[in-house]
Assembly symmetry: C2
Homo-oligomer: 468 residues x 2
Amino acid sequence: MPDYAAIKKELEGIAVEDNPALVRQKSRDFFWYSPILKAQLENVTGDLVVSPTSEEEVIHTLRVAYAHGAPVTPRGAGTGNYGQAMPLSGGIILNLAGMDKIKSIQPGKVVCEPGVIIAQLDKQTKAHSGQELRFHPSTAQTATIGGFIAGGSGGVGSITWGGLRDLGNILRLRVVTMEAEPQVLDLTGWDLQKVSHAYGTNGIITEVEMPLAPAYDWVDVLVGYDDFMDAVRFSDALSHMNGLLLKEVAPVAAPIPYDYFTRHKPYLRDRGQSVVVIMIAPHAMDPFAAFVAQQKGEILFRSDMVESMKGIPHAYELAWNHTTLRALKVDPTFTYLQVQYPSPDHVAKVGKLVEIFGDEVPGHLEFIRFDAAIQCAGLPLVRYTSEARLEEIIRIHEDNGCPIFNPHRYTLEEGGMKQTDRTQLAFKQQTDPKGLLNPGKMIAWDNPDFDFNAGKNYLFPGLAAMGV
Amino acid sequence: MPDYAAIKKELEGIAVEDNPALVRQKSRDFFWYSPILKAQLENVTGDLVVSPTSEEEVIHTLRVAYAHGAPVTPRGAGTGNYGQAMPLSGGIILNLAGMDKIKSIQPGKVVCEPGVIIAQLDKQTKAHSGQELRFHPSTAQTATIGGFIAGGSGGVGSITWGGLRDLGNILRLRVVTMEAEPQVLDLTGWDLQKVSHAYGTNGIITEVEMPLAPAYDWVDVLVGYDDFMDAVRFSDALSHMNGLLLKEVAPVAAPIPYDYFTRHKPYLRDRGQSVVVIMIAPHAMDPFAAFVAQQKGEILFRSDMVESMKGIPHAYELAWNHTTLRALKVDPTFTYLQVQYPSPDHVAKVGKLVEIFGDEVPGHLEFIRFDAAIQCAGLPLVRYTSEARLEEIIRIHEDNGCPIFNPHRYTLEEGGMKQTDRTQLAFKQQTDPKGLLNPGKMIAWDNPDFDFNAGKNYLFPGLAAMGV
């Protein structure tokens, strides 16, 4: 056990919190969306929360932690869903929310610290020069840009720009290593793959450089269909229209919209309506309306036509994991999955799974651009009955050609590609020789021989040791 | 024969030119790229050039022309290649270059008159609010926006935005009809298909509303490969990178770049180098360079690294029909084709045709987005020997699954889809009952029973009557 009293002393001048209730608060994220993670991670907590406000303070914190052998788990706003920012071995929570300076805004790019809240960043870049991030999570109002890069993959805007994994969607990351004398590295190009979506397991991000897109006063639209598959086909056709500038296209199956999109409910006819949640550029509204009419869709809601948006959430707060959140808030027996429906027959794959599961797995898709092709990802809701049935639902998806990015796992590999990321592992060997950064999240580090095909879930020994 | 003296008198107050040499000058475009059109259209000339400066003057001109039964052929800068603006029945050349006012610039859109020169329009919208047109032809420095809409299809920027045919890429066109009392119609949505790319056969455009994209200081890049197919594969892979903001990707086969890109020649090693002409956003240059290195390409030229761009043409002036122009200027025995290589096996199709024709048809591709998928169009050069061989080359392309948009035809149908466009025909019946607008360009008007599959070219009777 590291000597946290000594650590605290050596960190004098940097904000440190050791009140257990407050530390516990900062040790959590939205892991409870998953009944499985909820059971596994409920008692996880750190020992100290350290809140640096500069790169120098980060360097000093890591130097001290390294000397004492204390684990360090970085954290933005804790809006992740997989325990990304939860300290499985206890130790220091490195709260980066205070590092929130915007350093420069230029045509096409912004340089800032990792703790800036995404909506604030967009507000600043828009006011400065009519620009905004290419994409953001549905949690933009609370999430930080650093947390998004370290723990996210894409979101609102991915219909145009793809994901964070795509070369060019992150321009530069500055990271501090976890060594006796921490180094500061600027990563660009292919090197960015070493640390993006690595949950902070191999370096602490202290500065980011992100590309910007033009900001518009995006119009929120809900288009209604009586049949979910009609909504899906419409969404696919819409996403293929080169000339209509979109930011979000998400079909959501009935009865989810009527039952859980409380503020939008007055615009829906009944529980039978499936809805496509859309964000589109204002100058595309005329041709878009012509397209919807041709596709026999019903425009139920347009944010540019309502008297007031007061009390009505943004469209993107009906999408991505906010769809899940809205259902869960009303009915906690829901959980969800993350599905990929590979193109070109993604629509047929969705149809097959809708047919198999019906109302047990109400559909929710997100149309995205993937290697320049339109396809869809999905975050279907699942009426949860048991872990065994959930695993079966996953298996049936995979048997039908639809890989699952499992949101009921806390490791990088099991949630993602189900294989060792050798680039991230090699970089961790170099930047975190003691394995102190966010322990338990990279299986390859703890157990290089883990067999991803054996059908067993990984249990981090450190977590087992915590008796959870 | 209409009474042009009377017409001239009735047009008093509007600029009218009847000097035969000057009228002949304004009766031509770049039809001479094609040896076939050159022979057919060489002697085409109008009777009067009328240059209105307002919609009222357009209306008055059409009213007078209608009363006298005089043909009217609208014209921008005459940068088309298919005789789009050539008056096959003589009559009035309606020169719209003087209608060049920009009326409003807003976020995402611009309203202007048809005669604005495209590069001037982009300059104004960029200065106003960092915006520019989504795409433009390689003739942007001289072509007008109205001429582009009436006679073009896409160009620089189509890798991102598709083509003019795509809903949303034109927002509104205002057209004046050719009736006893001309009407003014504002067309939006699907109605735009009635008049865009109709060569002015069914209405005169007096105002356009176009969507805008963000303007960047695009970097011109030439990437070299020793094998043309390597250049093609690189171009395809590059075009699939969601995160790299491109405006132009055009592989050009050796020895065209070395032999005809005179100002860029010093940057090439030898005649054996094929080149990919690229325009890319400045903030994408770092990741782009990483990508080129991975793809074993050689960056030969970067406009952001040269000491001065003085005397060096824009990259887009090496692409689209400027590639053809540069070759033709040095070696007038060249001509060209316009080929579509449908996805997803477009690269294999290119490879097959390169194998068949070798240096007789040096490759030149333009990567574009087509219904949200990456594919390529081509404007290969052709070492012209005879009309029979040219027809054979066309047939071999079509036999290999690559439709030809024939640039050796002056009619809408034969240059394009080889079928009647019933929308445009129906609109012409309504807006030009006497058939006076740009006669001879719409086969369906003159000969509704023309058989496009009979293998015969259409000869406009009016042109036959002119003895050409």
